[in-house]
Every structure is written in C-alpha cells, then in structure tokens.
C-alpha cells in the first residue's frame, strides 16, 4: 500500500551527495574562483603573519632609541628611523600586532554583544524585543566617539585591552539590528516551532536552528566589526587617546604628525602606518564583498 515509489526524490538514486557536503564544496568552488576573496584574504593574512612573526625577529623594543636619527630606509633600518632614532620597521610590526589585537578583541566583543542582543530580540519578539530595540537605538545614536573620548580621557586607558573593550561596547548596535532582522524572519520558520515542540531550550534553538542558517551573515558582520574597530582605534590613537604603553599603527601616525614628519619630508615615518591601516581595513572590505558574492548566488559572476 505504501506509495513511496511514485513520490519524487524517493528512489534514493537521484542525489547521492548530502546537502551540507554539496553546499560546502560548491561554496569552495566559488571561493577559489573569486578574486576579491583571494586578494582580500591574501593581504589580511600576509599582514597578520607579519604582525605575528615580525616582532620575533626584532631584538629590541619598538620604542627603544636605537640608531641614528631621521634616517631614510636603508639596509639596516628597513623603514628608516624616527626623529628620535627609533626603528620604524620594529614599530610597524609591533603596531600591526596590536592593530589586529584591537580588531579581534574590539570586533569580537562587539560581535558577541551584537549577536546576543540581535538573536534574543529577534527570537523572543514582543516586549523583550522592544526593550532591546530601545537599548540598541540609544547606543546607536550616542556619539560613540565622543563617549569613547570622554571615557578614555577620564579612565586613563593604559592598554589595548581596555581600548578594545570600550570599542566593543559601543560599536555593536548595527550588528544587533542586522542579526535581529535575520533572526526575526528565521524564527517564524516551522522548524523552529518544531524544535520547541521537541522540548528544546531557547538557547539551543538559537544556536542550532537559527544561527547555522545565517552563518554567512554572521561571518560578514564580524569582518565589518573588525574593520570598524581598527578604524576607531586608529582614530583614538591619532587624537592622543591610545594606549600609553606600547605602540600601534595609529600611535605611529600620531607621533609622526606631532613631530612634523610631513613638513620634514620624512615620508617613511607616516606612510607605513597609514598604508597598514588602509590595507587592513580595505582588504577586509574587499574580502567582505567577495564573501557576499560567494554566499549570495545572485551576485556571482558567471
């Protein structure tokens, strides 16, 4: 009596390959052919490696007055020296390190707060959604940079960690909004209701039913938050509110401007940090566009 033989797709021979595997390999197929993704991730990876490995080959601290003053790049000092005789290459690789740190930490904190709030608001709806929405809007319209400046000025921020924490806590709202709207639409799917009927907890439903269905979205949000955190940190450093113990690309820029590198024609002082920040943020955005094209079939160039 069972009439399965006639039902479409039931003969078991049509699609031997499971969907997830197939989807992954398809994504990989397009990923390998997407120049934006390859270029973007290539640059990010090279800079990241430089920041991770570079400092290991520098046998003095980045701020040590080590050599002759105001030297242009040479075989000994690859990127020259500052007015005070500091090795700019050393500053650059250490600066990359702390810039990536701010990106990962600041972007990561913003990502955690933003997605948590977005998921809860979108999934729970109703009054919870309204309250979280209000909170999001308040933080969104706060002039975050001003708050950061005030907080940083009063709290006498010492390290990259505290700076990242502040950046993370102020830059999550748009991510929360984006995640909320996605979660809102996914939460109405019947499989979410079915999971509820199966005695699943809210947290588990969010992490196993909703989040995996918007993973590309989450990856892209993180990348944008990362780039945003790097830029905000550079801005703070540049106006003199950066970490006081250490070095970052923003601080290098600030120092070079403070000591008139521009007027003195010491291009080797301000170009590396500026180019470094631009390269990180720029390639992150290129990477993001590439990911968008891969995840979103409509944008794929055929």
């Amino acid at each position: 009596m069972s009439n399965v033989a006639g039902a479409p797709g039931s003969d078991g021979t049509t699609e031997p390959q499971p969907a997830v595997e197939r989807r992954t390999s398809e994504t990989l197929h397009f990923a390998k052919r997407n120049p934006k993704l390859l270029i973007g991730s290539g640059i990010v990876l090279i800079l990241l490696l430089l920041g991770l490995i570079g400092p290991l080959f520098v046998d003095h601290g980045p701020n040590v007055y080590i050599g002759p003053q105001s030297q242009p790049p040479s075989a000994e000092y690859w990127l020259g020296t500052t007015t005070f005789g500091q090795d700019i290459w050393a500053q650059f690789v250490y600066g990359l390190r702390s810039t990536f740190m701010v990106g990962f930490l600041g972007g990561g904190i913003a990502f955690v707060i933003g997605t948590a709030i977005g998921f809860i608001a979108g999934y729970k709806g109703g009054i919870v959604d309204e309250i979280l929405n209000m909170l999001t809007n308040v933080v969104l319209v706060l002039p975050a940079l001003v708050v950061l400046i005030v907080a940083v000025a009063y709290l006498d921020i010492k390290g990259v960690f505290v700076q990242s924490l502040f950046i993370g806590m102020t830059s999550w709202p748009w991510a929360a909004r984006a995640v909320r709207s996605q979660a809102l639409s996914l939460a109405t799917r019947d499989y979410v209701d079915l999971a509820r009927l199966s005695g699943r907890r809210t947290g588990k439903i969010i992490t196993t039913e909703i989040a995996p269905n918007m993973s590309s979205y989450l990856v892209m949000s993180f990348i944008l938050l990362f780039g945003g955190a790097v830029l905000i940190a550079a801005g703070l450093d540049f106006i003199g509110l950066g970490p006081t113990d250490g070095v970052s690309l923003g601080l290098m820029l600030q120092n070079s401007f403070t000591w008139s590198a521009l007027h003195l024609g010491m291009w080797w002082w301000f170009i590396p940090p500026g180019a470094g920040i631009t390269a990180i943020v720029g390639s992150m955005y290129i990477l993001n566009v590439g990911l968008d094209e891969i995840f979103n079939p409509k944008l794929r160039e055929l």
């Binding site: 009596m1 003969d11 499971p18 969907a19 199966s198 005695g199």
Partner: protein
C-alpha cells in the same frame, strides 16, 4: 480533555503595528479523548492560528485554553512546556518548512530522543523509530539518512506524524496533514488517524477540504473569518447544514453523479429549513452560538 473558551487572537499588522486583524474570534471548542474534531474553513480563516495556540506556540489575546484541566497559556517555564509537549504534539501545514534544511530529516527523531528519552539505548531507539516509520507506512531505507530536499512533501509529512508518535501523546493537532499527500497515501494516513482515535487520542484535524472532514471526524467545526459558523456532529453538519456559509461551502463540493445545474435546482426546489442566526451589535467582538438541535450549533453571519 482540550477546551477552548472564548479564545480570541488579534494580530497587529501594518507598518508600525497600527492596525489589527482579528484572526480568531470568540472560539469555544471541546475535544474529548478518542474524538476527532475537524476544523474546516477556507484559507485565512484562522485554523492554523487556533492550532498554534493549542500547541502553546502563540498566546491567545483573550480567553483560555485548558488541557486536562491545566491552563495552556499559563505554562510557566521550560519544564512545564516540555511536559506539555510530551502529551500534546502537532504536525504543521507545510512539511518543507518544518525541517531545518541544513540537517538530515531524521534529526527530528533525534531531537525527541535527546529531550525525552536520553536513557534509551541505541538499539532500542532504532527499533522504536523503525516501528513508528512502519506505522506511517514509510520504507526506512527511503527516508532515513536523507536531507529534507531529497524527500517528497508526503514523505516529510509522514515523518512528522511518525515523530509525534514517538511520544506518548494524548492530543494531536494535525494541520492540513493530508493536503500534501497523493490519493492512496491519504487513505493510509486517514486510516492511521482512525487507529489513533481507537487508542483514545484526541485529534484536532485542521482541513480546508470538506470531504476529508467528513471522512474522519466525529464532530465538525466550520470556521469563517475566525469565528465559528457552525459546529456539530459531522453527520448532522453535512446532512443538514444550517448556516448559509456552510450551505454555500457544501454546495461547492463537486458531486460525482450530479451536475451543478441539478444541485442548484434541487437547492431551489426545497430550500433548507431556516434557523434564526444569532446576531451581535456593531463593535461587539463576541460570536455567540445558538443550539438549533442537540449538539448542533450555528453562529453569527459575518459579511
């Protein structure tokens, strides 16, 4: 067992939730153990909304829903809900959207296992799963270890029924479960529902298809624009529809041995005895019923 009392559901619609839509209006309804009650109405009449409220997936705006004396709308916390779902299960209207596309379809069984049967051994569990799959007359080789898109709507629908049967349920909310099935499987599933009924399950059988309602149910409820138009023993409702809307619906069912003209002529020749429908004043959201014959009620006429 299940009792809905003056249940309303008002949705906020429009860009800023400015306007409202009364999807369910003053519904009173009882389902007893071993009874199949069909909820019949065209699409948009609020059938699925009633099902969702019974399943505790959305809260009524007004009114109470009780299951075995407990207020379903007041289930507090995760534990109480979980216990409720041990006894009350549902099968949704759209089988394709009932499965998470990124996982294999038989994960719906695993979820039941991890929540309700964590201690059952692998072998015992497999036997249990094969058993319910057999009950819904599926071939395990065809449906296990497959992704949802590899299965047909009918297969998915029956997997969902099988899933509900894993639990010791007392009430099943079946939302249009056979509209996706082809004719011969339909009969299978209807027979299965009859078996379940024999076992003492209450079934709320949602359908837009009048002839199906006729086939399985003890009592029928005809729903129009969220309110009950007619409610009574299925046989009486079908043989002697009292509400103009029910008459209209029944006259729309094509009949094999008669042409439309003959049906119309017959209706005109002997118009059904008229009942006085209850009325409500403008702005009153209630929907009273009057008892025309024993257990057979008619509701308001909405335009």
């Amino acid at each position: 067992m299940l009792e809905l009392s003056h249940v309303h559901k008002v949705y906020r619609v429009g860009a800023f939730g400015g306007s409202t839509l009364r999807a369910v209006r003053d519904v009173n309804l009882v389902v007893k153990p071993g009874e199949v009650v069909s909820l019949i109405g065209e699409s948009g009449s609020g059938k699925s909304t009633i099902g969702k409220m019974v399943l505790g997936l959305t809260k009524p705006s007004q009114g109470t829903i009780t299951f075995e004396g407990k207020d379903v709308t007041r289930l507090r916390g995760f534990g109480e809900k979980k216990e409720y779902y041990r006894h009350v299960q549902g099968v949704f209207q759209d089988p394709f959207s009932s499965f998470n596309p990124i996982f294999k379809a038989d994960r719906v069984f695993e979820m039941i296992r991890s929540s309700y049967f964590p201690d059952v051994s692998d072998a015992d569990w497999r036997e249990k799963v094969l058993d319910v799959i057999g009950t819904v007359r599926l071939d395990p080789a065809n449906v296990l270890n497959k992704y949802p898109h590899q299965l047909s709507g009918g297969q998915l629908q029956r997997l969902l029924i099988a899933r509900a049967l894993l639990l010791d349920i007392r009430l099943l909310v079946a939302d249009e479960i056979i509209s996706m099935l082809d004719a011969s499987t339909r009969i299978d599933v209807l027979n299965l529902l009859a078996d379940l009924k024999e076992r003492g399950l209450g079934i709320l059988f949602v359908t837009h298809d009048l002839s199906l309602g006729n086939y399985v149910s003890d009592r029928s409820v005809i729903l129009r624009k969220g309110a009950i138009a007619e409610l009574g023993p299925t046989r009486r409702v079908f043989e002697n529809p009292l509400h103009p809307y029910s008459r209209h619906l029944l006259s729309c069912v094509p009949q094999l041995h008669r042409t439309w003209a003959e049906v119309d002529a017959e209706l005109a020749a002997n118009p059904p005895e008229d009942v006085v429908l209850p009325t409500v004043s403008e702005g009153d959201d209630s929907a009273p019923l009057v008892e025309a014959e024993e257990g057979h009620f008619v509701g308001i006429d909405q335009r």
